[in-house]
């Protein structure tokens, strides 16, 4: 809903992402805040933020596959891994970053199509199992291949990221680099919602029978949904390779895939805002609990570190449960309600 008195005289204006002056101002302030953040925070927090940006890119991808097209995917972490391995492997040949990112995205997309081909023919629980197989196969294949190919058990060191002749290696530099990518990814994710492609994905999710009769090639769009979701995963993987500077199979577990899915569900699967809020919520709660646990540990209690670690995980689980109980439609829904209340104030009705 938009406030009273705002109207459009072009269709393009109506389709713009930031419809009101107020929305544009707030977004500009947010971006400026993110640009200024490194001057006010330490290396640790910047590292957390960088990690959060990377995860957000991967979760945007999941939002396309799961949220828009309704195709469950429990292998996003494996797809991120493929992007990271591609970046590490081709980095050895001195590939510049602007070529490495699209390459990682396209290779990941191509691999996802291999799994999407059978996946597009099954639905629901069966699809969940098919993608689970992709996740399970990922380490088996990497470990089975010769070590010189994709690193095997040892992993591959990553050539440092160079942009225009400068090597980016400090937390601040990597923060700015991932910030740029996450802004581009955000724009792309929102764009999908106002296009023929995005509508076709949603049509497949909402009613695949009607979609087919209305001329949408359902099989093809299910595969494309995996492909686009994996493009995002590939970009996230490339970033992760440069930030971690070392890529091993162990970083891309089923556990991480489930977390990505969890973040999306907590935030709300149907909009990119959901991805943002979900990743933010889980990261903040997780880090907050870590800090809290560390503080208790340092205060000289008699509790063992293991107990506190377990307790923080239980608290994290509780936070996720509470979020799901009080807002099953995701934090994005709560966000919309809040915005509407704010716009309608002080009158409760339109």
């Amino acid at each position: 809903m938009i406030p009273t008195g705002i109207y459009f005289d072009t269709y393009a204006g109506e389709a713009s992402l930031l419809k009101t002056a107020r929305a544009r101002v707030w977004t500009a302030l947010l971006v400026l805040g993110l640009i200024a953040a490194p001057f006010a925070s330490g290396a640790y927090l910047l590292g957390v933020a960088t990690q959060m940006f990377i995860i957000l890119i991967a979760v945007y991808g999941l939002h396309v596959t799961v949220g828009m097209a309704g195709q469950i995917n429990i292998a996003q972490s494996a797809f991120v891994g493929i992007g990271a391995l591609t970046t590490a492997r081709f980095g050895e040949y001195g590939l510049p970053f602007w070529a490495a990112i699209p390459l990682a995205a396209l290779v990941t997309g191509a691999v996802s199509v291999v799994f999407a081909l059978p996946a597009a023919r099954v639905k629901g629980f069966y699809l969940a199992l098919t993608t689970l197989a992709a996740q399970a196969l990922f380490p088996i294949v990497i470990l089975g291949l010769p070590e010189t190919w994709l690193g095997g058990l040892v992993g591959i060191p990553v050539e440092p990221l160079t942009v225009g002749g400068y090597v980016l290696s400090t937390p601040k530099q990597l923060y700015y680099f991932t910030l740029c990518l996450v802004l581009v990814a955000t724009y792309a994710a929102f764009n999908l919602h106002r296009s023929r492609f995005g509508r076709a994905l949603k049509a497949v999710r909402d009613n695949d029978v009607a979609a087919e009769v209305m001329g949408i090639n359902v099989l093809s769009y299910k595969i494309q949904a995996f492909f686009v979701g994996s493009l995002f995963a590939g970009v996230a993987g490339a970033c992760m390779a440069w930030v971690l500077q070392f890529v091993t199979v162990e970083s891309f577990t089923l556990f991480a895939s489930v977390w990505y899915l969890g973040m999306l569900i907590v935030g709300g699967i149907y909009s990119p805002i959901g991805a943002i809020l979900g990743v933010l919520f889980i990261t903040v709660v997780q880090e907050g609990l870590h800090e809290f646990g560390a503080a208790i540990l340092n205060s000289g209690t008699h509790e063992a570190g293991g107990t506190i670690f377990a307790a923080t995980n239980v608290a994290l689980g509780a936070c996720i449960l509470l979020a799901l109980i009080f807002e099953p439609r995701g934090l994005a829904h709560r966000w919309r309600v809040l915005k509407t209340v704010f716009q309608l104030w002080p009158f409760p009705h339109r």
């Binding site: 269709y11 764009n191 949603k202």
Partner: protein, 261 residues
Amino acid sequence: MTMAGSSHAPVLEANALRLRFGAVEVLKDVSISVAPGAIHAIIGPNGAGKSSLLNCLSGFYRPQAGSVTFDGRDITGLRPHLRAAAGIARTFQGIQTYPSMTARENILTGFHNRMRTGMFDALVYWGRTRAEEEAFAAEAEAIIEFLELEELRHAVVGDLSYGLRKRVDLGRAIALNPKILIMDEPMAGMNPEEKGDLARFILDIRDAKKIPVVLVEHDMEVVMDISDTVTVIDFGEVIAVGAPAEVRANEAVIAAYLGAG
């Protein structure tokens, strides 16, 4: 009412369709022929095979024998989405809209095969996609105006009433710019006012947009009022074809509906 343009070749033709599910013979040798610019109703008692016939026409069922010809071309083996691209639009029994999208977005999905931008255009948006979206938004507005949905263009379809959702469904079908429109029980579950509106829209589609309509319908009053030709099916066989008045007087039809005397 005279049949408009009946001298021309039929738009859509089914020849000797035969369809069976296991031991059940649903269609035994069914043929129909839809003339350009005509409203062609298919009626028959429950279980007669009307919906199965429609599903053969739109490509959901593949008949074991017989052929479907559309616009001079054999489409018997064509998949549903390709039939839509060829110019066959369809509305559904019950509610088959996209509930999470707005009315206008539902209509825009109908343009799918006429729009060209793909996945990468969608990610970039600026340029090609924007221009195309703008052009088709204008066209969607024309359909919205035709169906008198102006106030609801941005309403989420899942929140609309049954009758309005059926109207959105119709809008989406018109958006295909079809050469024929197939409607499966459009009047079912509507109140008399909604039925009147819809009958008017169907006549407008034939007269203003020159699109022939194939209609499966149970409401005899509507069928007799708006149809140019009626085909009556019983137990998978065509028992009568003709103008509404002829069919109404047909002995076999009366027997099928009232039980053989």
